[in-house]
């Protein structure tokens, strides 16, 4: 009886291992066609206008362990974006010199903005029409409807001009959310008009819409933790258990089962109930701050975090253990997996 049980459990274990290996193999096969991209804003010792020092856009092939600087070691890079439809692919860099676009897999880049749109803090792309672009800047939201040839400032209804992030709604491409200095704003007409959603605290640093339950929105705030709405922004409450500090990064697993948050001396936090309560992922990597989080779309236990000055950390077990995988010294604002 006991022998049978042991044998059965071995079979189960072997089966799990095989399935797990196959899954990992499949993931790596899929990843072979994709690369990690990291937006690096600052690096140790970097001075604006001084010698270059490993900032800009970095790429790491999934089969590789080295990050390669693929675009300009002196470009303050705040964020990245990617648009794909059929054979058409477009890569975007939100940076100090403006919004950059590449249509040839990153070989060449063109700056789409001029002096009228200063530092680009993030880019949001219309999911259907590649000619419609939005950027968040310290001086407001700007929109282009002609592929970046012309830009118009879109601030009607906004009370302050500093906008950190833009998020396009998953169900309606004319609906966007803007993480701004004083509140989270929403537009339902492609940026023509904005209204405050009344988060209840100022300093909105990041925003996330749940991938399935789209009425669920989360915002990371300056000094007030994470706040959550489950009714599209009508009512808000604070995420429980979280430290009341600054949260810069929010991310969801692709199925929405797990939500992650990180920020200033917070460690990595996880919620499995739409952001109502949170638990500290243990052990959290010992980093000063988390600027960005990435959850692998095919494996929710495979996590990467971009830090403030300590590069990128990776975990394959949902945050149980972490390994630094490079870009030491870098302030990593965004990590994505793109072709």
């Amino acid at each position: 009886m006991a022998k049978t049980a042991v044998r059965a459990s071995r079979i189960v274990a072997i089966s799990v291992a095989v399935v797990s290996s196959l899954s990992l193999y499949a993931q790596r096969l899929e990843d072979g066609r994709r690369n990690y991209y990291a937006a690096v804003f600052l690096n140790r010792g970097h001075v604006s206008g001084g010698a270059s020092s490993n900032i800009g856009l970095f790429k790491r092939m999934s089969s590789d362990t080295i990050w390669h600087n693929i675009y300009r070691p002196n470009l303050f890079t705040f964020g990245i974006g990617f648009w794909e439809r059929g054979a058409t692919r477009r890569y975007y860099i939100a940076g100090g010199n403006g919004l950059h676009r590449s249509t040839d897999e990153g070989r060449t880049w063109r700056v789409l903005t001029t002096w009228k749109t200063e530092e680009i803090l993030s880019v949001a792309l219309d999911p259907v029409d590649s000619s419609i672009l939005y950027v968040a800047t310290p001086f407001g939201v700007f929109k282009s409807t002609d592929d970046g040839s012309h830009w118009v400032r879109k601030m009607k209804g906004m009370k302050r001009w500093y906008v950190q992030r833009l998020v396009v709604d998953r169900t309606d491409r004319r609906k966007l959310y803007a993480a701004a200095e004083d509140d989270l704003y929403q537009t339902t007409d492609g940026g023509e008009h904005w209204r405050q959603l009344g988060v209840g605290v100022p300093g909105i640093l990041s925003a996330l819409q749940h991938p399935q339950q789209t009425a669920v929105l989360l915002v990371g705030t300056e000094d007030h933790g994470v706040r959550v709405t489950t009714d599209g922004g009508r009512t808000w409450s604070g995420g429980q258990n979280l430290p009341q500090t600054s949260f810069y990064a929010l991310r969801s697993s692709s199925d929405g089962q797990a939500l992650y948050a990180g920020g200033y001396r917070t460690g990595l936090w996880k919620s499995e109930n739409l952001g109502r309560t949170w638990s500290l992922v243990s052990p959290a990597p010992n980093v000063e701050a988390i600027y960005s989080i990435f959850v692998h779309p095919d494996d929710p236990k495979h996590l990467l975090i971009g830090t403030c000055g300590q590069g990128v950390y990776e975990s394959f077990d949902g945050g149980g253990s972490w390994k630094n995988i490079g870009l030491q010294g870098a302030h990593v604002k965004q990590i994505e997996l793109y072709p």
Binding site: R72, F76, N97
Partner: protein, 597 residues
């Protein structure tokens, strides 16, 4: 009527040489500077250019230039304008291969635009001249994927906007002894090489404006008064500032060669931008030279500038800055109104002595720092901004720093008297006020009346603190320090011209004691100056002079005997005796005439 009767001697000076009358020794000074820089060994476009212009160390210079064009670890706005400036100056003598490398620099490296006013001036000057130099080239030929035409138009548009802003509401990085070079050098490069006569004229006008702005607050090589941005060593030792070398070149003061003096030398090492001025065909108008050097009559000069772009925690992008400066031949007393007008490096007020000695200044400050202050001006995360700024500027969070803006410091100046109120919130990290008193003062004594009397040469300073303080001895200075959260400093400045002997100056002040009243958020100081003017000043409240409010809204863009301009008019008028020069930035015209005597 008589004043309006003018003879228009020169209308619309389109050709610079018409007005170009070099000062007697300017030619010698500029030749001397070129020779000196040509003998330097530091790797910079300025040194290379000087070497190749003079034919000194030609082979070495070519190698240096080659390494500057191929070294991918350098680049950005400082590189951009200097590289194209060198190229345009030297192209007739460079080998084709090196010229190709220099062209390639604008194709393969990112000329980073930066995030400050001086960055953008350098960046767009470089881009404008590069696009002009290599016209009709496609998008693939430029680092930013824009064509020559696109780059040229963008640069031209921004430069014109900067000229307009600077001539109507003022610079954000105004009157900076440290950063003056990052404006005047690209502007003179633009003047020298812009093909478009209108751009060339606007650059000439902008150079005139920068020099005139400096000239009215210039004393013996020192850039006096309040400054937007300044490095500590330049604040403590004003002739160490890079602007002093420009004063030497164009104003002929100080009369010694700064780089020969070890006490001033370090700041000029590796910063030989001035040599671009020495090589330029721009000639300082004689009227600006006269304004800079004639200190025979004391005068009050006021200005309006603007706060650097506020991106957060404010409702106005560029609120005004109000400057007040009193100039004499022996000293200058100047101030900004106080508060946060610039992050990091603000210098709110000082007395500057005309002296052969270094460390010729006295000032006070509150060493404030905050991530929120920085986040007003920078887009990064405010939790890290203080650390980030500290990485480069080193002293931002230091309690002993000598440059700072503070929301807890406000000033009220009338001629040679200034009241500086401090009202520091509880819980602030550095809850003290510091004052800089150089050790090389000829006299410094603490009078039983409470006044601290100082003398440097013919200049006298009386300093009164309404609350307790202590002295800390440091290498080159005494640090006056008060731990009182609420305090007021009264400073009276005079000289032998006005006061006679120092003892007489002291006697005039010994019986005067200022009074601090009120409390909480609105302490008030009342004081009657030795010339009998009554000053009453409330923190965050009115400034009353003889019972009448001082209304900053009435401040002109420039107002004084030498420089006048209404805000937002774009017309700046210089006057020296019967000589008038008018810059009209809207029309891009320069007029000069002489008034009837």
């Amino acid at each position: 009527m008589r004043n309006s009767a003018v003879i228009l001697l020169t209308v619309l000076l389109l050709v610079p040489s018409v007005e170009a009358r070099a000062q007697p020794s300017f030619e010698q000074r500029r030749q001397r500077l070129i020779e000196v820089v040509a003998g330097e060994r530091d790797r910079s476009f300025f040194t290379v250019t000087a070497k190749l212009v003079t034919g000194k160390d030609k082979e070495f210079a070519i190698q240096m230039l080659d390494s500057l064009t191929t070294d991918q670890s350098i680049g950005g706005m400082f590189y951009s304008y200097a590289a194209i400036g060198s190229y345009l100056r030297l192209r007739d003598q460079l080998p084709d291969s090196l010229k190709a490398k220099m062209r390639n620099s604008f194709r393969e490296r990112t000329m980073y635009r930066g995030d400050t006013e001086n960055h953008w001036v350098m960046y767009y000057t470089g881009l404008y001249l590069a696009a002009q130099t290599w016209p009709n080239e496609g998008r693939s030929q430029w680092y930013n994927g824009k064509s020559s035409d696109e780059n040229f138009r963008e640069a031209e548009e921004w430069l014109n906007l900067w000229f307009k802003t600077s001539s109507t509401i003022g610079q954000g990085e105004f009157d900076s002894p440290t950063y003056f070079i990052t404006f005047i050098t690209p502007v003179l490069t633009l003047y020298e090489f812009a093909s478009d006569p209108v751009m060339k004229r606007r650059a000439q006008m902008m150079a005139d404006l920068l020099f005139a702005d400096f000239a009215v607050e210039h004393l013996n090589g020192n850039y006096c008064g309040g400054h937007s941005r300044d490095y500590p060593e330049d604040i403590m030792n004003p002739l160490s500032a890079p602007a002093a070398l420009w004063a030497w070149l164009y104003f002929g003061e100080p009369q010694f060669e700064l780089w020969q003096e070890t006490r001033y030398r370090p700041r000029h090492r590796g910063g030989w931008e001035t040599v671009f001025g020495a090589m330029s065909s721009y000639r300082l108008p004689e009227i600006i030279y006269s304004i800079a050097t004639d200190r025979s009559t004391p005068y009050v000069h006021t200005e309006t500038k603007r706060v650097r772009n506020i991106i957060r925690f404010g409702l106005e992008k560029n609120p005004p800055v109000y400057k007040y400066t009193y100039m004499t031949r022996h000293y200058a007393l100047g101030s900004l109104q106080g508060g946060i007008l610039q992050p990091i490096q603000q210098h709110t007020w000082d007395v500057t002595f005309a002296s052969d000695k270094p460390y010729n200044t006295i000032f006070t400050l509150h060493p404030f720092y905050s991530g929120k202050e920085l986040a007003m001006f920078f887009p990064e995360e405010q939790k890290f901004l203080s650390d980030e700024v500290d990485r480069y500027h080193k002293i931002y969070t230091n309690p002993n720093k000598w440059n700072s803006s503070s929301p807890f410091e406000q000033t009220f100046q009338h001629k040679n008297t200034i009241l500086v109120l401090y009202n520091i919130d509880k819980g602030i990290t550095h809850p003290h006020i510091d004052g800089f008193f150089p050790k090389n003062l000829d006299e410094r004594s603490i009078d039983p009346s409470g006044w601290i009397f100082c003398r440097m040469g013919a200049t006298y300073v009386a300093f009164y603190s309404l609350r307790p303080y202590e002295w800390i001895e440091e290498e080159i200075n005494w640090r006056w320090r008060s731990f009182e959260l609420m305090n007021c400093i009264v400073v009276e400045v005079g000289s032998s011209d006005e006061e006679g002997p120092f003892e007489q100056f002291k006697r005039n002040l010994q019986a005067r004691s200022p009074a601090l009243t009120g409390g909480g958020r609105n302490p008030t100081i009342e004081y009657t100056t030795r010339s009998g003017d009554h000053m009453k000043f409330t923190f965050n409240g009115p400034r009353l002079l003889n019972g009448k409010p001082v209304n900053f809204a009435e401040y002109k863009f420039f107002n004084g005997p030498y420089l006048h301009s209404e805000r937002k008019s774009g017309v700046v008028t210089m006057t020296y005796k019967n000589h008038v020069r008018e810059l009209d930035f809207d029309k891009a015209t320069i007029k000069e005439w002489q008034k009837l005597q």
